[in-house]
Amino acid sequence: MNEILIEATNIKKEFSGVVAIEGIDFELYRGEVHALMGENGAGKSTLSKIIAGIYQSDGGEMKVNGKVENFSSVREATEHGVSIVTQEFSLVPDLSVAENIFLTDSKYYKGRFIANKKAMAAETRNLLGLFGMENKIDPYVKVEELSVAQMQVIEILKAVSTNAQAIILDEPTASLSVREIEILFDIVRRLKKSGIGFIIVSHKINEIYEISDRITVLRDGHLILKGVPTAELAQDELIRAMVGREVNDLYGAGSDVKKLDWAHEPVAFEAKDITDQNGYVRNISFQVHRGEIAGFSGLVGAGRTELMRAIFNADPRNGGTVLVDGKEVKGRSIHSSIDAGIGFVPEDRKVDGLIQDLSVLKNIGLAKLADRGGAILHTKEAESDCYDMIQRMEIKTANIDLLVRSLSGGNQQKVLLAKWILLAPKVLIIDEPTRGVDIGAKSDIYAILRSLAAQGMAIIIVSSEIPEVLGVCDTVYVMHEGRVTAVMTASEATEEKIGYYSTIGDGKS
């Protein structure tokens, strides 16, 4: 018999009068991994934050271990054994691993004031030992020197150290490589055996099938599927539940957009012997034809982003030339790259891509303004450009003056793409085209990329999602430790081959 750890009934939450979630029932058993799924804005984060005490519900009841609880703070939730690990880490970068784990634990402070670093470190080693990681992370090392994956492990250890019975992981794999995800999942499986229940908030379907026992799906703030055993739920059924419509052709392979016979089109883009500023990426050359979509696959840290940034002059490069339509891009500034017809959509739209405090209108027009705008703004033209793009890319926004920060992830990504598409570049480089984007917007973005390619644009994609590369790209490049280890056509490429070349390489080249 499954023992119920958390039971939430009829949960409701409003934000200034707007209902975010309503009538949500949710159960977490001891020792299970329960996936909480849904598109962006479905309410899965809201629900998980209510359970963790970050938000307070406006209706409904929550029981933990059979007792009615209404957490008014994260601290209270933690004291009752419920912890959350969010995407924004709560770690202090300047303190050591051990100090972070026991930051608020008065047992480890002499006279409640002076940190007992030795005891902290010893206990940290014990905790790490539980996962066989005592040799991988030094308790004394500062958190800022850790990788994202290691920080996540530390967050989980922190939860374990407070005797958490339920741990909520909010998008835990968002910035992890395949191998790091394996390590994380391994830890989750071990802890699960000791009776801890996990709630994983995610929209990565593959991973959820790998790790979860049951799935709950929310859509538009309502409960669609409640605690269905993962093994009994088919993938297309899950997607239908999340999206609310059929998405049987996510990558648009069967779309009626007429593809260019790119192999017989002229070469639009050529990179010769590109070496990045640190010399990590060395002497990489490749060509992309008009209408071709080239994909760069590989693990995080393989040098793909560094390569693209060097090509675009976003970072200085140590050598190599870039040609657009056979003409060399002479300058070494971003401006000269854009002038030559290269567009660049960076990896992290929040940090590098969008101006969050400017409106949709101002964001969409910014690149065009920078490239060919006169000293004085043309408001009319900018507005008509903006409406054009909103329509073409199906951007959902209440009005064009809305700040970009208030849009959903998918719509933000579309605004970022629109900014560059407005320039009609000859070559568009997109680093992670659909990271943190829900399935509906994903399929829109793939359709847009296809139609751009059909109109003759050369597109270069960097993606960590192998199915995306296989589904969208015509040519697949695999990188490993700063080198291209394999080049394949779409028909030759398989998930296994990409996985192989992105971990060990072929020993040649």
């Binding site: 401006h335 969008l354 969050q356 910014l366 705008g373 004085i376 409406y387 009005n399 003056d401 208030s406």
Partner: protein
């Protein structure tokens, strides 16, 4: 063009309401304050008093324009008071010795711009922290002011020099009022309607994203400080023209008034947000508040408390409105 879309573009009124929420609420506060004071004292709402206040805030308002622009780029300029002092002093000495108004004014503005250029180069191109660079410039400027003047007052300016500070068109309308509003109009237009203005907002909100969009961040940041320096020159011009003299203490501490005006007007210290409309309100709110306290006979020692409270309340109001927006998501 907008067919098939569920966009609510809204009328002009609604769009103004969306873009100028903070400014509008500060305007309401200002109007209420003004109305209350008009009833509280018969002296408050008189032409004389209003012109008096305008004259008092004329140089601060120039500094506040530059300060707002710099803060929008997520910088700060602590040296404006010192640049005012030094440019006024050098220009004043040229005026005194040559009796050439055109040359004197040119020198005042040029000194301001050059000092702004030094700030801008260090902050924009060498990427040094604005707070430290302008703190240094504040000390250097004030020190040079004393060195050059030897703590003497520059005066004996040609009589015609007082035209900007106290001149009246047709013997009635003060020139400095036209000048203040003219300057605000020009820079409001620059910030809202030119590429340069748009770039400054973009840079202040997200420098890296602006750079990757092809904006020349270094140059534009430098230009913001050059403008701030130029505005210090204008402030020095107005001040010395009004007082027909310049001594080494002019402008001392004025940077704080300029920052206060910008912040009260809704400019965010973290950059990317704020308008000069708000700064106008900020300048006048501080000016008229001081004036009201004087008229009401409040002990002048309490003035700082009143103005300090207004600053904190303004920031608090902005913070609260932000929390609401965040929750509203």
């Amino acid at each position: 063009m907008n067919s098939g879309n569920t966009l609510q573009s809204g009328g002009l009124g609604r769009r103004i309401g969306r873009e100028f929420k903070t400014e509008l609420s500060m305007l309401v506060i200002f109007v209420v304050f003004f109305a209350v004071m008009s009833f509280a004292s018969p002296y408050f709402l008189t032409t004389n008093n209003i012109m008096n206040v305008m004259s008092q805030v004329s140089s601060t308002s120039m500094l506040a324009i530059g300060m707002t622009i710099v803060i929008i780029t997520s910088g700060i300029d602590l040296s404006v008071g010192s640049i005012l002092g030094l440019s006024g002093m050098i220009g004043g000495m040229v005026l005194m010795n040559t009796q050439n108004v055109v040359l004197g004014v040119a020198v005042i503005l040029l000194v301001g711009m050059v000092m702004g250029l030094v700030n801008g180069f260090l902050i924009g191109y060498l990427e040094l922290p604005a707070f430290i660079v302008t703190l240094g410039m504040m000390e250097i400027g004030r020190s040079l002011d004393y060195v050059i003047s030897d703590a003497n007052t520059a005066s004996k300016f040609p009589a015609i020099y007082n035209f900007l500070g106290t001149g009246r068109i047709g013997g009635v309308f003060p020139v400095y009022i036209i000048f203040i509003f003219g300057m605000f109009a020009i820079f409001i237009w620059i910030m809202a309607k030119t590429k340069f203005g748009r770039f400054l907002y973009a840079i202040g909100s997200n420098k890296e994203a602006a750079r990757l969009t092809g904006i020349n961040v270094k140059f534009n940041v430098m230009m913001a400080y050059v403008i701030s320096g130029l505005m210090c020159g204008f402030a020095a011009w107005i001040m010395t023209s009004r007082l027909m003299a310049c001594d080494a203490t002019y402008g001392d501490g004025n940077e704080m008034d300029a920052i206060a005006a910008a912040v009260i007007g809704g400019t965010s210290m973290s950059g990317g947000k704020g308008t000069l409309w708000g700064t106008i309100i900020g300048v006048f709110l501080v000016g008229f508040l001081r004036n009201a306290l004087n008229i009401l006979g409040v002990n002048p020692y309490w003035q700082g408390t009143a103005i300090g409270a207004v600053i904190v309340i303004a920031v608090l109001a902005e913070k609260l409105s932000k929390v609401k927006v965040k929750k509203g998501k």
